[in-house]
């Protein structure tokens, strides 16, 4: 069965918050109703967001890494938020595994938000119903969009392409391949929630500088009088990567 999900590459995310704003823009404009902003220009603004980018510093100066960490609903395969819902407003779709809230059934008891270890759900203070990431369910199947645009707003907005959208149950999908090849991992595996969203770890970045890249044997500015040495066979520049 299909399980749609996001694969987020922490090695690529630059922390620009474009996914946050595009998510808010798309989901506040949709048929499901606006995501409230309260006191937006005041001292203590608050509002409903489905997606946030947080920043963590790993390590001790000077050996630190700044990790930007986008956080939204993980569309767990075993979502603990669904069985606790007393009304059935929280449900996981059989056809594509998206965890959704029926805003017309939700009574705003907040029990599902207690039952989510990730803090992925936010009560909308205006509508008083629980809201969460829908994986842009209202656009990924939209036949009026060209196929390459049928993706969640955050995925389309991400400038460096840190977000991959796809079926993580299909081993041939780009998302599954990224998980398999780049060590994709779930969050808080200790609770057995089997999150569908995966994160790709940071990779060690090394600049491969070889001596012959710095000292070109045929450098015309080399004024030491030595005769240019003819290259013995091809140099590195002949294998430009």
């Amino acid at each position: 069965v299909t399980q749609l999900a996001l694969v987020i590459d922490l090695n690529v995310c630059v922390g620009c918050h474009a996914c946050v704003t595009s998510c808010k823009q798309w989901n506040t404009s949709g048929a499901a109703g606006p995501l409230v902003d309260e006191n937006p220009y005041g001292a203590d603004p608050t509002g409903t967001f489905f997606n946030r980018v947080q920043t963590f510093e790993v390590g001790e100066f000077p050996h630190t890494q700044t990790v930007h960490f986008p956080k939204s609903c993980l569309h767990c395969e075993e979502p603990p938020c669904v069985p606790v819902c007393p009304t059935g407003a929280s449900y996981k779709r059989k056809q594509d595994g998206i965890v959704l809230v029926d805003y017309d059934k939700c009574i705003g008891c907040k029990y599902c938000s207690w039952a989510c270890p990730y803090g992925a759900r936010e009560l909308d203070e205006q509508r008083q119903v629980m809201t969460k990431c829908t994986l842009c369910v209202d656009r990924i199947y939209d036949q009026s969009l060209p196929p390459e645009r049928r993706k969640p707003a955050c995925v389309l907005a991400c400038p460096p392409g840190a977000r991959i959208f796809g079926d993580v149950h299909d081993p041939e999908s780009e998302a599954s391949r990224a998980i398999a090849e780049r060590g994709g991992y779930p969050l808080m595996p200790e609770w057995g929630t089997s999150p569908s969203n995966h994160y790709l770890p940071r990779r060690r970045t090394e600049i491969a500088v070889h001596p012959e890249d710095l000292l070109r044997v045929d450098n015309p500015l080399q004024l030491d009088g030595a005769q240019p040495e003819l290259p013995h066979g091809p140099g590195r520049e002949d294998f430009a990567t």
Partner: protein
């Protein structure tokens, strides 16, 4: 967690209501209620129990963002303890009202109705406790102590209330009810102390390392993604100083257990003359249980707080 007063009143009021009914039904099983005056006392006691549960039910509506849709909450009883509680609470109220009504009208069948109400009362204790105990990653709640505490604290407050009522309306019950109230108060104290000791030694299974999946001993959050507050920073933090929590613990141990136990012990054997003592015991104990319940919520550390370290 941010303690919600609606839920604090709900759980303490219905606990006392269930405990009161159970104490009165056991009195009936012991042979009480045969004459008209005794039956009237049982009927009035059932009325108090139903009123307490009704007050709790009203309080629970203040917890809902959409109270007009509350009827929907009975739908998912197969999977949700909250849904089960929503069904069993009115069921218990109806059965307790039936039991009291049969006594009030002098009709037969009180024991059958009462037995069904006992099952509903015990089931309601289980539902209420499991709402919290079933959330496995809130480790302060996910324990058998949660079930034991809800049961024993409800029985203790209910038996204390039954004693206070009996001092005014049925003094012959006092030699049985006062020791029972004392026993349940002490048992509740032992169980609650056990859960405090257990919770003091909890090692959180989730860490910031598992939360973001980076295995490094030193990870510091530099930004939580927004400057103002959000649902995540309001709902899951009590926002008080840790010192207040520590003080509150001693206050509720004093008010919910120690002081009522002293008052009950003083009232033991004094008969109806100790009515004021017993009424004070219930008042003090209920106040203590309000504090206990506030502490129960405030003490719970939700793993989502790992993502909001600047608040935590």
């Amino acid at each position: 967690m941010q303690p919600a007063f609606s839920v604090i009143f709900l759980t303490t009021l219905i606990g006392a209501g269930q405990g009161l009914f159970l104490a009165l039904f056991v009195a009936e099983l012991g042979g009480f209620g045969g004459v008209a005056g005794e039956a009237r006392f049982l009927a009035l006691g059932a009325l108090v129990s139903v009123l307490l549960c009704g007050a709790g039910l009203v309080a629970s509506f203040f917890h809902l963002g959409r109270p007009e849709r509350a009827w929907r909450a009975a739908a998912m009883w197969r999977t949700s303890w909250l849904s089960r509680e929503v069904i069993v609470l009115p069921l218990f109220m109806a059965l307790a009202a039936l039991w009291g009504g049969l006594h009030g009208l002098g009709l037969p069948g009180t024991r059958g109705a009462g037995a069904l109400a006992v099952l509903a009362a015990l089931g309601l204790f289980v539902c209420t406790a499991m709402i919290y105990a079933s959330i496995r990653f809130i480790q302060e709640w996910a324990s058998g102590f949660t079930l034991a505490n809800y049961l024993l604290l409800g029985l203790a407050s209910g038996a204390t209330l039954a004693s206070a009522l009996a001092a005014f309306g049925a003094p012959p019950l006092l030699p049985a009810l006062v020791p029972a109230a004392l026993l349940f108060t002490l048992a509740g104290a032992a169980s609650r102390a056990g859960s405090l000791l257990r919770n003091a030694r909890i090692k959180p299974r989730s860490t910031v390392q598992t939360a973001i999946g980076i295995k490094h001993p030193r990870i510091v959050q530099r930004a939580q993604g927004f400057l103002g507050g959000s649902f995540n920073t309001r709902e899951f933090f009590h926002g008080r100083r840790p010192a207040l929590l520590r003080q509150l613990k001693w206050w509720f141990l004093l008010l919910a257990f120690a002081l009522p136990a002293v008052l009950l012990a003083l009232a033991w054997g004094q008969g109806a003359a100790a009515a004021a003592w017993l009424a004070a015991a219930f008042g003090v104990q209920y106040l203590g249980l309000l504090l206990e319940r506030w502490f129960f919520f405030a003490q719970a550390r939700h793993p989502q707080n790992l993502y909001y370290q600047e608040v935590a």
